[in-house]
């Protein structure tokens, strides 16, 4: 009798609790609200990039709302962000995506930094016809391709930084002929390696060596010792900010004086901090120094708003502004809240406003679908511990 009561006492209330949760969580949409879902790693190691990205998206949403919201067919819609934590693994990310799509019934989403996570979430959002503006990638076919007609990517990624950086190298470091490569071991690394090698050869340079390192690496002495054995004149890496700091610091401590390029967009301040000012020299990053006077007026504005609200601003905050803003621009151009209509409009648009200047869509040839953002990116060089804004480059994404 006790067992029976116990089973009932525990089993049914729990299930009714779950029912109650389900019933109360999904809210009916306010007719004048545009719900946009955000999936980001808020806990776990990737939250270093996830949290600033969510914050800048919130800032951008408030900015849009302050200007009156999104105007569609004469009606004004206030943007409402619904944020779900992807946590650490693919399955928690899929859960987050499921919640947004099935429970909150969003038709538009931004988010996701890690490429495998983006690919996994696609399995939820593509069949549900949810327009998604993803935050990062490496440039491989798994991220955005002809089979993901509802996925778009605005920020420029490693694959598309390479040709511009190589070009700059031939002008600023004309004697550097042999290039060493050091990439993070990851899902798209082989693909990226192939593309970058081609770009290096196209710039009339040679590949001295190619090595891969683990994203959990702390001590870079062994792997950099290996890379330097091939005596490269210049070094190209993909690295998260702290990894780039470690690589730069180690390379300089081991006596390497050649230029070091990061193909991943990383905040110059973070890299310099971790490498130490004395080591922060001849390091070129495809990211802006947000405090520089040479920033566009809009970036200066965003920086001001960000510091007001969050007491700090760096590139990690800035990067995802345009991911969100272009989604809004596409919705406004389509004058519709139907995701299919928005997707079809977006891929045909040839003019967008961005924080860095005007941009458009590209990628039909190189990605198989015209869903890749082509917009200016800043390049910063760390020189003797100081930050030098090299200029604004526009990638070539056919």
């Amino acid at each position: 009798m006790k067992k029976f009561l116990l089973t009932l006492a525990v089993g049914f209330p729990v299930f009714f609790l779950i029912l109650a949760v389900g019933a109360t969580q999904g809210s009916a949409a306010d007719p004048k609200t545009l719900k946009i879902g955000v999936t980001a790693p808020l806990t776990g190691p990737s939250s270093t990039a996830g949290i600033p990205s969510v914050r800048i998206t919130q800032l951008a949403a408030e900015w849009i709302n302050a200007k009156g919201g999104v105007a569609i067919k004469g009606e004004k819609y206030k943007v409402e962000l619904i944020v779900e934590d992807e946590k650490d693994t693919i399955d928690t990310a899929i859960t987050a995506a499921n919640k947004l799509v099935q429970l909150h019934k969003v038709n538009f989403m931004v988010g996701t930094i890690s490429p495998p996570t983006a690919a996994a979430i696609a399995s939820v959002t593509e069949p549900a016809h949810v327009v998604r503006s993803i935050w990062h990638g490496e440039g491989s076919p798994m991220e955005v391709n002809a089979k993901t007609p509802y996925t778009f990517r605005v920020p420029v990624v490693p694959r598309d930084f390479a040709p511009s950086l190589l070009n700059y190298q031939t002008k600023a470091y004309p004697n550097a002929k042999k290039v060493g490569i050091l990439f993070i071991e990851g899902p798209a690394t082989d693909f990226l390696l192939e593309k970058v090698k081609k770009a290096i050869e196209a710039a009339k340079l040679t590949v001295a060596s190619a090595d891969m390192y683990d994203v959990t690496t702390k001590d870079f002495y062994p792997v950099i010792t290996k890379v330097l054995n091939s005596k490269p004149d210049a070094l190209y890496c993909t690295a998260l900010p702290h990894l780039m700091g470690g690589i730069l610091k180690t390379a300089r401590e081991l006596g390497y004086t050649g230029p070091i390029f990061n193909l991943s967009p990383t905040s110059p301040g973070t890299v310099r901090g971790i490498a130490g000012k004395s080591n922060a020299t001849d390091c070129i990053l495809p990211a802006p120094d947000v405090d520089s006077a040479k920033m566009t007026p809009m970036i200066k504005d965003i920086r001001r708003m960000c510091i007001e609200k969050y007491k700090e601003c760096n590139f990690d905050y800035l990067r995802q502004w345009d991911s969100f803003w272009w989604l809004i621009q596409a919705i406004e151009k389509a004058q519709s809240l139907d995701p299919t209509a928005v997707a079809k409009t977006w891929e045909k648009m040839d003019h967008f406003e961005s924080s860095a200047g005007p941009g458009k869509m590209g990628g039909q040839q190189s990605y198989g679908i015209n869903h890749i953002g082509v917009l200016p990116f800043a390049v910063t060089r760390l020189n003797k511990g100081e930050m030098e804004h090299i200029g604004w480059f526009v990638p070539d994404i056919p």
């Binding site: 001590d219 002495y221 010792t225 054995n229 702290h242 470690g246 081991l254 971790i274």
Partner: protein, 282 residues
């Protein structure tokens, strides 16, 4: 070239040793599966960060404050969170996992999730036998060696130290001969957490800080202990050096991946052939 590789290996090795040393003290003397040891290491690094970067102190005073304060924190943790589970391994695992979550989330709440850096205590590089070593790494090795020697002296020459050895071998027998096991546990926790904080504070400037840096320290600590033997300090030294040298020698000759694999194979072989570790007692 060989000199550089060996030097790299020895340096890495010492960093692992510092972490493993603290862990082995806690595991064998306090007798608890302290899964949150990595987080203690992490907190140690962050305390140095606060006193050095935020409060503006010099590195060494900040390090000292960190070691002492984290060691004391450890004593409190042991008294209230760990001691009740001395004979209860499952309970210990649960409590320490809760501690992991609390410490990680706490640091995120206070310092934010981003990467932090601590400026080097010593700038510049020195050259030994044609190999390059930064002064701060050399400093870390020296401080590490000093701490280890101090620990060995403490264990060998003091009553409390000898009591610690007794407790690590057989807790009940030690109690029977009149050793105050609780006091000894507190001392061991103090030393173990102090060492972890030292390791965290010393590696802070060399690498960087994140609230999630603890997991790596724990895993490396466990690997060193498996290799060297639970409860053995010389074992921790040998285990750490072996792991460090594997990294330092194999990576440049083959690749990072190969070094990882060989490292795993070595540990598995030791487990199969001599499960109590190279210097452990069964």
């Amino acid at each position: 070239m060989w000199a550089q590789n060996i030097l790299n290996g020895l340096t890495s090795g010492w960093l692992y040793i510092l972490v493993a040393m603290g862990l082995t003290l806690v595991l064998s003397i306090v007798g608890i599966v302290q899964l949150a040891h990595g987080e203690v290491y992490m907190v140690g690094a962050y305390v140095v960060y606060f006193f050095c970067v935020v409060a503006g102190l010099n590195f060494f005073p900040a390090l000292l404050i960190s070691i002492v304060s984290v060691a004391l924190l450890g004593v409190l943790l042991e008294r209230f969170f760990l001691r009740p589970f001395r004979r209860d391994m499952e309970g210990a695992i649960i409590t320490t996992t809760a501690l992991i979550l609390i410490l990680q989330t706490g640091i995120v709440a206070v310092a934010g999730p981003g990467y932090k850096d601590i400026p080097s205590a010593a700038e510049g590089v020195l050259i030994i036998f044609g190999a390059r070593l930064s002064w701060e790494r050399l400093l870390t090795i020296i401080v590490g060696v000093v701490l280890v020697i101090a620990l060995l002296l403490f264990i060998g020459k003091t009553k409390v130290g000898q009591a610690m050895v007794a407790v690590s071998e057989d807790r009940d027998a030690a109690a029977l001969v009149g050793i105050n096991v609780n006091k000894v546990s507190s001392v061991a926790m103090f030393l173990g957490c102090g060492l972890a904080a030292a390791a965290g504070g010393l590696t802070g400037p060399i690498f960087n800080l994140t609230p999630y840096m603890g997991g790596f320290a724990l895993m490396k600590g466990i690997e060193v202990i498996i290799l060297g033997g639970l409860g053995s300090i010389p074992g921790a030294i040998i285990g750490g050096l072996i792991l460090g040298l594997l990294d330092g020698l194999i990576t440049p000759l083959a690749s990072v991946q190969m070094a990882n694999i060989i490292g795993l194979v070595v540990i598995v072989l030791i487990l199969l052939l001599r499960p109590q570790g190279l210097m452990g007692h069964e």
